[in-house]
């Protein structure tokens, strides 16, 4: 596991250094320029995409094949990706927290809850598809599922542009944090099963 995490760290430093740079710049903009609200959310969504990016590199460079010759199980390989994603995400959120506290951001608790939840959503949904069908097919499947989800939600809300009154204010944003964390854990277990099936 240590070796897998180290490999992902090297790949992040070498392949994703521009991503890291922009994520840091956007993060700082988001903290210190309150009018640029989008920069509060965009960088967390970008950093959360790291595991998918690394998985794409592994497939392209056939590391996924080589890893099967090592004393590394499918479950360990999948866990490595989720763990690395979680570590990077936690480190980035911690950095943002320090910056926000230094800047004295108002209602930072709510902002943190939004950042935490939104960032985890994409990998939690996307990764199982990528582990099951490969990165390319997985992305397409993800787009289809997301499209179907939004299509269904439009049908169910009968085209209303606003969130139904029943739901509005029913859930505090903080409540999303454990839900999203649980979704990430469920996604991890589903990915282990999916990856095992793909290799069967």
């Amino acid at each position: 596991m240590k070796g897998l995490l180290l490999k992902d760290w090297y790949l992040t430093l070498k392949y994703a250094r521009f991503l890291l740079f922009f994520v840091l710049v956007y993060g700082v903009i988001g903290v210190f320029f309150t009018s640029a609200a989008v920069f509060s959310i965009l960088p967390v969504m970008l950093i959360a995409l790291l595991p998918q990016t690394l998985l794409s590199y592994d497939e392209r460079e056939k590391w996924t094949d080589y890893a099967k010759t090592l004393p590394v199980s499918d479950a360990q390989y999948v866990t490595g990706k989720y763990l690395f994603g979680a570590i990077c995400y936690a480190a980035y959120l911690a950095l943002l927290a320090v910056l926000n506290l230094a800047a004295g951001t108002e209602d930072y608790g709510t902002l943190f809850a939004m950042q935490f939840s939104i960032g985890l959503l994409a990998p939690a949904i996307l990764l199982p598809f990528m582990f099951r069908y490969g990165t390319e097919k997985g992305r397409i499947t993800y787009l289809i599922v997301i499209g179907a989800f939004f299509g269904l939600s439009i049908v169910l809300t009968q085209g209303q542009s606003e969130i139904p009154t029943l739901l509005r204010g029913a859930f505090p944003v903080w409540a999303l944090c454990p839900v999203m964390a649980a979704l990430y854990v469920v996604s991890w277990h589903v990915s282990i099963r999916f990856y095992g099936k793909r290799n069967a």
Partner: protein, 280 residues
């Protein structure tokens, strides 16, 4: 004890079926897997490593089922795949650190020794390596975690004759330890002939033979003769034949050859080609 033992191993891919067949490598020995492209050599290796699901049979490595002993059992196996696949941006130093985190039995001193022996640069990224350098790095990693069994898929492909000779010598050194064994597949049959104790022929998914190399020389010979002489041969003694402008080259079992017939020594490549042609 057998280092590797396949029993009734089988795998189907729609229009291609591998096996079922048995195969074993005693400890201290090198087995060469010979076969044309698509014969099933890589599939066999993937089945041994459980990289793909099998349709039947068992694989035992050092007397333990390969699935039951996974993943710890992998510590004992050094693998070089047909395509050595480290991340393109990594250099040998980083690969060494990664492998130290993957293998409990990683031997950094041995790794550095092989890097030196193969003259592999420390800081050059993997993507800038030649095909031969990539193979050498794959071999260096495979030999640096105290493996007892090496599984090598075309390890000498892309190497120049000098480097091939060096690598062949290295594998030979490896099996001087009686507890070690090597399974090697290669198109370069001359390398296998130099190196192997046992030879196995795979043809279209079927195992045509698996025999001690020296016994192959003892059992088979090439009989160069006219079509008339060929027609007079005992059919059960004929394993294969090739027609040439000068007559017929028949591959014969020595014990079925006509009395007094002079049989030439068969080389492994010739033996495989003649047997595979006959098996069509």
């Amino acid at each position: 004890m057998n280092a590797l033992e396949l029993k009734q191993i089988q795998k189907s891919y729609g229009d291609f079926t591998l096996g079922p067949f048995d195969l074993a490598i005693p400890s201290g020995c090198i087995l060469g897997l010979v076969g044309e492209n698509g014969a099933g050599k890589t599939t066999t290796i993937k089945l041994i490593l459980d990289m793909i699901g099998r349709d039947g049979g068992t694989v035992r490595i050092f007397d333990r089922d390969n699935r039951e002993s996974f993943p710890a059992g992998r510590e004992e196996i050094g693998v070089v795949l047909d395509e050595v696949s480290f991340s393109a941006c990594l250099n040998t130093k980083e690969i060494g650190r990664i492998m130290a985190g993957v293998y409990r039995s990683w031997d950094q001193t041995a790794y550095e020794g092989y890097l030196k022996r193969f003259a592999l640069p420390e800081k050059k990224p993997f993507k800038d390596y030649s095909l031969g350098m990539k193979k050498k790095l794959g071999i260096a990693v495979a030999l640096s975690h105290n493996a007892r069994l090496l599984i090598l898929d075309e390890p000498t492909g892309g190497l120049d004759p000098l480097a091939r000779d060096e690598v062949v010598e290295l594998f030979s050194e490896f099996t001087r330890d009686e507890g070690h064994a090597v399974l090697i597949s290669s198109h370069i049959v001359s390398d296998l002939e130099k190196l192997c104790d046992y030879i196995a022929f795979l043809h279209r998914g079927r195992l045509l033979l698996c025999e001690e190399k020296d016994r192959l020389y003892e059992e088979y010979g090439v009989f160069r003769c006219s079509p008339e002489d060929f027609a007079a041969l005992e059919p059960s003694a004929v394993v294969g034949k090739r027609e040439t402008p000068y007559g017929i080259e028949a591959l014969l079992r020595r014990d079925g050859a006509p009395r007094g017939a002079e049989l030439g020594r068969v080389d492994i490549e010739e033996l495989f080609v003649l047997m595979a042609k006959e098996a069509k």
